[in-house]
């Protein structure tokens, strides 16, 4: 069925853009301090809840009903909450461990991840179950008829893909062209030498966390808009996918993260449709791909071969 295939590809691209958006945060943080920040998925989740909280408790009804008022406000709220959480966690959890052995920050990030998830579950009203997310974009679906069937494309999905690609492009420009981006690249290559060149590595690292969180927070809002409800597990799940995507694309590489994200999205939706076991096993296929990539091409699609990993 051509229409089924195309629908799955559309689904995969939407999910893939989202994963790519989150993967950018993983890849940048890993590129700079070689930390797998497990809590990054939770930053994404917190952004979605932050935006939801603002929508539910702060916005007057007439703004709630007009998506073109609500959307920018929600995006800002999600980004602010995510960035705040990420900066706080860098400051209080990771910075004291800057010179500790690698295991310490990794386990800290697991702890932060669990704690953030639980904070939401315990203190956000109703968060023990999935919560409906408001409509943030033109409601409805654009349908294309293909041969024997139709391919539905939600408008909020189009929004997600476009925003993700634009943000990834902007981030790439920032890292490659701006002064601060150059400082980031310098810090990731050699923190001590960067310090000698007048760069403050702590500021660069905070900025890295903040940028990653900005994208994740926006991703969280768009996720809510597309999937119409959110729960506290979305952070961990999508976080793992995003990490896989970052590795797939070559960790530390911005373009790689986006391509990896799209690849993961496509694998998930196509494997769920066509592989034995169906959608119950789509997770399994992603992890299988992850293992195969890590074992046979650990530097990913775009990674530099010569990078020495500890």
């Amino acid at each position: 069925m051509l229409s089924t295939l195309l629908s799955q590809i559309v689904n995969g691209l939407v999910l893939g853009s989202l994963i790519g958006l989150i993967a950018l945060g993983y890849t940048m943080v890993y590129g700079i301090i070689q930390l797998i920040n497990f809590a990054h998925g939770e930053v994404f989740m917190v952004g979605a809840y932050g935006a939801l909280a603002m929508f539910t408790y702060l916005l007057p009804t007439f703004i709630q009903q007009q998506w073109y008022f609500a959307l920018p406000l929600l995006l800002i709220a999600g980004a602010v909450v995510s960035v705040g959480v990420a900066v706080a966690m860098e400051r209080f959890a990771y910075r004291p461990l800057r010179n500790a052995p690698k295991l310490a920050p990794l386990i800290t990030s697991l702890g932060v991840s669990i704690a953030l998830q639980e904070v939401i579950r315990v203190f956000y009203p109703g968060a023990t179950a999935a919560i409906p997310f408001p409509n943030i974009f033109i409601p409805g679906t654009w349908t294309i008829s293909v041969g024997d069937g139709v391919v539905p494309i939600k408008y909020s999905g189009i929004l997600l893909v476009v925003v993700a690609l634009v943000l990834a492009y902007a981030l790439n420009m920032f890292v490659e062209r701006s002064r601060m981006g150059r400082a980031m690249r310098a810090t990731s290559q050699d923190r001590d030498v960067a310090r000698l060149m007048g760069i403050n590595p702590d500021r660069v690292i905070v900025l890295t966390f903040a940028l990653g969180a900005l994208l994740a927070g926006i991703g969280g809002v768009l996720y809510g808009g597309f999937y119409t409800n959110i729960n506290i597990d979305i952070g961990f799940q999508n976080g793992i996918f995003a990490f896989t995507a970052a590795v797939l694309g070559g960790i530390g590489n911005i373009r790689g993260a986006v391509v990896g994200g799209l690849a993961i999205g496509l694998i998930k939706s196509l494997a769920g449709q066509y592989m034995p076991g169906g959608s119950a096993y789509d997770y399994v296929w992603i992890f299988v791909v992850l293992i195969v990539v890590l074992v046979f091409r650990p530097q990913g699609f775009f990674g530099e071969t010569e990078r020495v990993r500890a």
């Binding site: 690698k102 990794l106 702890g111 074992v295 500890a310």
Partner: protein, 589 residues
């Protein structure tokens, strides 16, 4: 005690510093005042009303003066700590300051826990101050007493713990060790049962338990400072085999203590399962230095293998094999999976390896959830796994030996104690073997190890294989004891908890893994009232451990330097008071 001498290597008392220095001349007075205040606090009323039903109040009410001899529970602990502080302040002993400081922290812990609890239960601040013409300042007086104790103790300078060089005859030392282990056994039983079984019917248990923990912690800190504990530890080191045997017997004797009820036996057996698994993980993470984030999958594999070979009705295999054989098969199957999971270590290192193991763990859970091949029962789990049987006796039945009637669950407890002992034995021997040294070498520097002629590839896989076998072994027991095998017991969070147990206890050490597993699985059991916050506290605890005590409770001598911050020496005493000697090193080690 006159024969006890301080070792010549001991440093002199650290001079008092900062604002407390002004108080130095008054230290003895302060310590006595603190002790007296503690006593007074213990005898004052603690609540302006009678706490609602249940055993908690134990005199935590205004009714105290009507029965003047009813000092029990936390008030008894306060009396003991207060008296001990006064005695130490008056009697000439070494390391006075450190001893009293330990007692003082114990007093503070008790007063805060109980005061907070009464405040919360009593519906506000009035509960521990004054309301309706009644006054109850017990909590405040005791808290002030504790603070005065700590301040008084610290102001005089903190000596390092005393080092006793006393050696006695073999028989005397054996007797002392026997008594010491008997006390440990009773203490374990008391901690386990303090506050009783948590839950809705017994809302006091958490507070009572924490308060008791504070008292025990304060007393242990004081005894450690006096040098008694170090002395006994060195003595047990001298009589290693004897100590191991006595400890094993003590562990087997737990059912004879107050913990010998069905409920506590079940709890203890569960702790045993996780302790055995944690030791297996300790081989992979602690010795070989390979981070495994999906380790609980091997426990799950062992459990599902055992479930399928147990003759349970829900199993598609439907074979029933004797339990010892099942144990071996489960261990072997888990070991094979361990080798498969470990094989990427040939090419992948560090963080990436952690992700590979996490991926394997997730694949396992997803597959089990989807009832792969009909082997795992999916979301229905595999229920009704028959209990282990030996000589026609089910292990879930109660036991009667002569006049002694032991509750059901005892046999499982005994079995898991033996399993844990066996696993500890395997671990201890491996650690000191050629293989163990090879693992440690790989952990320290893989390239250097390879240069020294260690075949790193097979040896790393072997670490995974052996670690997985131990987990599989424990898993087979787990399935029979629980009676069901469900994928929900083997999620990512369980892996993190096990890892946390290993790290909390101290990586690469045997007592560490057991201690860590006990702490992480007893606390949630005891603090049921806070069940909602359990994971939140767990996450925060992980962050705090990594920040303040990354080397764990029982640090390994080799590991110690490695997990500490690279630039400075390891922080040895995070429990030091805020004004206390945070730079004091444990001189005894």
């Amino acid at each position: 005690m006159t024969t006890i001498e301080k070792a010549p290597s001991q440093a002199l008392a650290e001079p008092p510093r900062g604002r407390l220095a002004a108080l130095a001349p008054y230290t003895s007075v302060l310590r006595i005042v603190g002790g007296v205040l503690t006593l007074v606090g213990a005898f004052l009323p603690w609540a302006t009303f009678v706490l609602n039903d249940g055993p908690y109040p134990e005199g935590a009410t205004l009714e105290f003066f009507s029965e003047p001899f009813g000092v029990s529970g936390f008030r008894l602990h306060l009396v003991l700590l207060g008296l001990a502080s006064i005695v130490v302040a008056l009697v000439p002993v070494a390391a006075k300051g450190r001893i009293v400081r330990g007692f003082g922290w114990g007093v503070i812990a008790i007063s805060i826990v109980n005061g907070l609890y009464i405040t919360v239960e009593g519906g506000g601040f009035g509960a521990i101050t004054a309301s309706d013409g009644t006054a109850a300042f017990g909590a405040f007086v005791a808290l002030v007493g504790g603070v005065v104790l700590v301040v008084g103790a610290t102001a005089g300078g903190i000596d390092p713990p005393t080092h006793w060089d006393l050696k006695l005859g073999r028989v005397v030392e054996w007797l002392i060790l026997l008594v010491a282990y008997a006390i440990v056994l009773l203490l374990v039983a008391a901690v386990l049962t303090s506050g009783g079984q948590g839950g809705a019917a017994n809302p006091f248990s958490g507070a009572v338990f924490l308060s008791f923990l504070g008292a025990v912690g304060g007393a242990i800190a004081g005894l450690h400072a006096s040098g008694l504990l170090g002395w006994i530890a060195r003595m047990s080191e001298r009589h290693r085999i004897y100590s191991v045997i006595v400890l094993l017997l003590a562990a087997l004797a737990l059912p004879l203590t107050s913990a010998g009820t069905e409920y506590w036996m079940t709890v203890a057996a569960n702790i045993g399962v996780y302790a055995a698994t944690a030791i297996g993980l300790n081989i992979v993470v602690g010795l070989a230095g390979l981070l495994d984030l999906g380790y609980v999958a091997f426990l799950g594999i062992g459990a599902f293998v055992a479930a399928n070979l147990s003759g349970a009705a829900a199993s598609v295999v439907g074979i029933e094999l004797p339990f010892p054989l099942v144990l071996v098969i489960a261990a072997v199957v888990a070991g094979c999976f361990g080798a498969v999971v470990g094989s990427p270590t040939l090419r992948v290192r560090g963080d990436y390896l952690a992700i590979v193991t996490l991926a394997f763990g997730e694949i396992f859970v997803r597959s089990a959830q989807n009832n792969i091949g009909g082997l795992t029962g999916g979301s229905n789990s595999i229920p009704n796994i028959p209990p282990v049987e030996l000589f026609g006796k089910g292990f879930n039945e109660s036991v009667t030996i002569g006049a002694l009637n032991l509750p059901s669950g005892v046999l499982y407890y005994v079995l898991i104690v033996l399993i844990v002992a066996a696993v500890m034995w395997v671990f201890g021997n491996l650690k000191n073997s050629r293989l163990g040294r090879a693992w440690i070498a790989i952990r320290e520097d893989e390239d250097a190890a390879r240069a020294m002629g260690i075949r790193t590839g097979p040896i790393k896989i072997l670490a995974f294989l052996i670690g997985a076998m131990l987990a599989g072994f424990a898993g087979a027991f787990f399935a029979h004891k629980l009676g069901t095998a469900s994928y929900e017991s083997f999620r990512f969070l369980e892996s993190v908890t096990l890892l946390a147990a290993v790290i909390l206890g101290g990586m690469g050490t045997i007592p560490g893994a057991v201690l860590g597993a006990s702490v992480l699985f007893v606390l949630p059991e005891k603090l049921r009232e806070f069940a909602d916050y359990r994971l939140l506290l767990f996450g925060l605890a992980l962050v705090l451990i990594m920040r303040f005590r990354p080397q764990g409770l029982v640090p390994d001598a080799h590991r110690r330097a490695e997990l500490a911050p690279e630039s400075e020496a390891p922080p040895d005493h995070p429990d030091d008071g805020p004004a206390g000697g945070t730079t004091v090193k444990a001189a005894a080690t």
